[in-house]
Symmetry: C2
Subunit: 412 residues, 2 copies
Amino acid sequence: MNIMPEQLEMITEQFKTLKDRSPFYAKKFDGIDLAAIKTQEEFETLPFTDKGDLREAYPLGLTAVPMEKIVRIHSSSGTTGTPVIVPYTKKDVEDWAVQFARCYEYAGVTPADRVQITPGYGLWTAGIGFQAGAELLGAMAVPMGPGNTEKQIQFMMDMETTVLTATASYALLLAEEIEKRGIQDKIKLKKLITGSERAGEKIRNRIIEALGVEYYDIYGLTEVYGPGIGISCQHSHGMHVWSDYVYLEIIDPDTGKVLPDGEWGEIVLTTLQKEGAPLIRFRTHDLSRIIPGECACGHNEHPRIDTITGRSDDMMKIHGVNVFPAQIEEILATFPELSSEYQIRLSHLDGRDTMRIYVETNGSVDWEDLRKRVASSVKAKIGFTPLVKIVELGLLPRSEKKTKRVFDERYD
Amino acid sequence: MNIMPEQLEMITEQFKTLKDRSPFYAKKFDGIDLAAIKTQEEFETLPFTDKGDLREAYPLGLTAVPMEKIVRIHSSSGTTGTPVIVPYTKKDVEDWAVQFARCYEYAGVTPADRVQITPGYGLWTAGIGFQAGAELLGAMAVPMGPGNTEKQIQFMMDMETTVLTATASYALLLAEEIEKRGIQDKIKLKKLITGSERAGEKIRNRIIEALGVEYYDIYGLTEVYGPGIGISCQHSHGMHVWSDYVYLEIIDPDTGKVLPDGEWGEIVLTTLQKEGAPLIRFRTHDLSRIIPGECACGHNEHPRIDTITGRSDDMMKIHGVNVFPAQIEEILATFPELSSEYQIRLSHLDGRDTMRIYVETNGSVDWEDLRKRVASSVKAKIGFTPLVKIVELGLLPRSEKKTKRVFDERYD
Ligand SMILES: [Zn+2]
Ligand SMILES: [Zn+2]
């Protein structure tokens, strides 16, 4: 995707003072003349910023304004190792709320809505982001925070909640609890806004069916404001990402080369307005693609990314080709006779890499024929022939949480 | 204390439309001509609003604006029974932040400060109140939320926190942990702002000594914004309560009569600017008194209340006199030979009420003489003679949490 002229201008404008403001980028771009960056091609020569760089800047080394201008920090989870600390100015906090309010607007939320917020608060960016956006829009925030399903359901009924914000798995838990109690008619939910984890089509449909809601996916990450930098619209075909706040690239995670629209790769973000901690070419490690063409909603100033299908760390290099689980999944999804479960195993046998794909079906189809059709479909789309193994429906492991589906056993 | 002319004007102004806006007050003040209320005396004839009324209004019966103007709810804990739901408009949310920022100003906090927030978020008003005020002032909010002492201390060191906001008991826990680890020199704390529970002089001094901080008490309750409607100033002699947001009365909890300045009783609050859920003569059940005279800080437009010494439910009626544990405690505190522990037991013996006061001392004083001096001091200050029992230092029960000190055994 080509950079928009306004975006390029915002980037070159911030480059004028970036090194003066930010010791972090002064060091990172040492020896690079930022004033000379005038085109997309030149921009694409700049080195990426990675989460490791951000960790090294711990605690407040990312700060690009005088410290008194920082009014808040957030922090990425960092359950292992050093966390990343993201400092926000007043403008950053406001800009984030503006973006989040726009997310709600895209989802058709109005001041008459009541938004129940189940993500967590504190250093975590989720809860307060969902709340600030709802309040700025003028909807009624019901700030529950996580857990306490009993109280969540009580408040959902008593406050007549119309919009639920939750992770997909918590939404599923609530949906099943509501079904179990047979209280669907006491629930006024119309929309679900979910983020922070990828939900399979099945879970998604299960929630939609149980709660009768419209389903919206929100995008964002702590390092770049938090959730709210993009959302799916009513056409449910990808998430619009706010082009006035971030410049979006999709790169080959292996080579770093920028990929054409439509190709799967890693999302790289450059902030256009962030003061506290601007980020230039930040590697998110989220896998997606830019959806080419126009969206029926008409908001084509904000490009769409596809559902996040995993982490670039999941990328498999096989026979010199980059393969993402999502690509395999997409191909498998075209076979209605297969369940949505699968497993990919990579091994090194007889001197060469092999991909085995395990899929499930029932006994009513010709397994040998199906096996061949799946293998040739992968060959046609990706360029090499995998070993396809068909197993009985229900044989592949399932888990409530994130199911591990890719096993690389080549270097074990 | 006399109502200020501006306060009376704000009250009569809101009375013009109160019944139209608020079904709750239309019902409560049914048959009362609010337009006729023009003086303090007339105002004092209005019935009180109690927490029970607010519970009855569950869920959103307190709302005094069109529902679309509500942008947030908070809720009082309600561990037992129906919770109270408090709806906020955008102005209410902003006004609360303005009041909270003023609290920080009174505590000498500036944009250069870093405020670590350990109270909880969500329906609870504490965390988000502390955060919004800090951000509005321009200080750096470090939004930790409750618990995780390990991480709290890590962030306190790494973020160079200068202001800790916490309950007294959590501050004590952190102080003792910091002492235990011998890392006082790595801690940059200058101020502690604490609320929501009363801390004895000893705990307070223990924290001040361990952390070397200035100690500020904040006042507030969910029904009236949340914490932040008042704070102690650097003279540590009572909490200034914002007279432009609330009108303060101290009443006899038994008769409902307004008490003169200086007398202990129950705090009653009337909101002057609240839109979402205005409250008229709300009984807080918090026991305090208005501190007469001028404060050395010069902010005499905002009257001071004394440290909250308990709940009006703790009031003891004995020989026709209202007695509060705080009064006894105040008297005992004038005896340096006594420890800060005490116990009050009320019983009905030989046809009359008796108060026994247990106090502690060591063996170096004349117990009989001390006993007499304490008894006559109570007689002089409160008007009746208690039975004073002196016990060995350490004999009275102590607890980490709230120690029960008053036992009414008259009707057992
Ligand atoms: Zn669209
Ligand atoms: Zn003062």
